[in-house]
Symmetry: C2
Subunit: 153 residues, 2 copies
């Protein structure tokens, strides 16, 4: 009946704590980069997500699942991006309540510019920290975690 000296609950708490702190540490560095003088990190996240969207158009509520922001905050964030000419709104054709979003050309270009720098910064932080195999394993574990958590509706 010997245990490994650590309860499952405690292990989960420590794992989350460690994941969270790592995220804070990396995020701090990334936010400090010069790219995020032009757009806040949440705003960039929206531009990035739109850039990955195959059809180009994305519903506001789908976007909201992706981002750590309340519905109202996202609504206003998008309003700001629209005022800056970075995104375009359109009423959803199949749902009169819905709003579709798309990057403008200026938005797509800005995303690419910042994205390039951002990716370089990320690589500069993760590269020296973890081997390629470790990064792959970390990616696998966090994907698994995300899908499991997201699955419980």
């Amino acid at each position: 009946m010997a245990t490994d000296g650590e309860s499952p609950v405690r292990l989960a708490a420590e794992t989350w704590e460690s994941l969270f702190r790592a995220q804070v540490a990396v995020m701090r560095k990334l936010q400090a980069g010069p790219a995020f003088k032009k757009v806040a990190i949440n705003e960039y996240d929206v531009l990035f997500t739109l850039s990955r969207c195959p059809s180009g158009w994305l519903r506001l509520n789908e976007l909201n699942d992706h981002v750590l922001l309340s519905q109202s905050s996202l609504s206003r964030l998008v309003e700001r991006l629209e005022k800056r000419g970075l995104v375009e709104r359109m009423a959803a054709p199949e749902d009169g309540r819905g709003v579709l979003l798309k990057l403008t050309d200026a938005g797509a270009e800005l995303q690419k510019d910042i994205g390039r720098e951002h990716v370089r910064d990320i690589s500069g932080l993760l590269g020296p920290a973890l081997t390629a195999a470790e990064q792959k394993e970390l990616r696998r574990l966090t994907e698994k975690l995300r899908h499991s958590v997201g699955a419980r509706h």
Copy 2:
């Protein structure tokens, strides 16, 4: 000269993306719990960090390294906690500029209450998602990442 079809830079970006999204997904669930009606998650984080501090007292600037908040925001967050009687301030004895922080009894009790529930929620999210071995590996990798990132002055 065959590669595995993925550049190091791209791998790092995907790894970070995955880590970040997992953090968002988990954080969303945790924030929705009833515990965080009483204190915001950042506020809880401060109470938690103070509760782990061996001497009980912690410098404000050390606390700031831990939390994803600007110096001024932390200053005001602590001010709020003090007004609510959850923490106590003291001038640092060895540094006339510094401020030391400590939980009050009420603060310690609140932290424990919320902490219990929080840990249960975390366990409920990570437990079904990852095996114990996977959690340990995730903890190891994120610790390694954090230390590497934090190390660069």
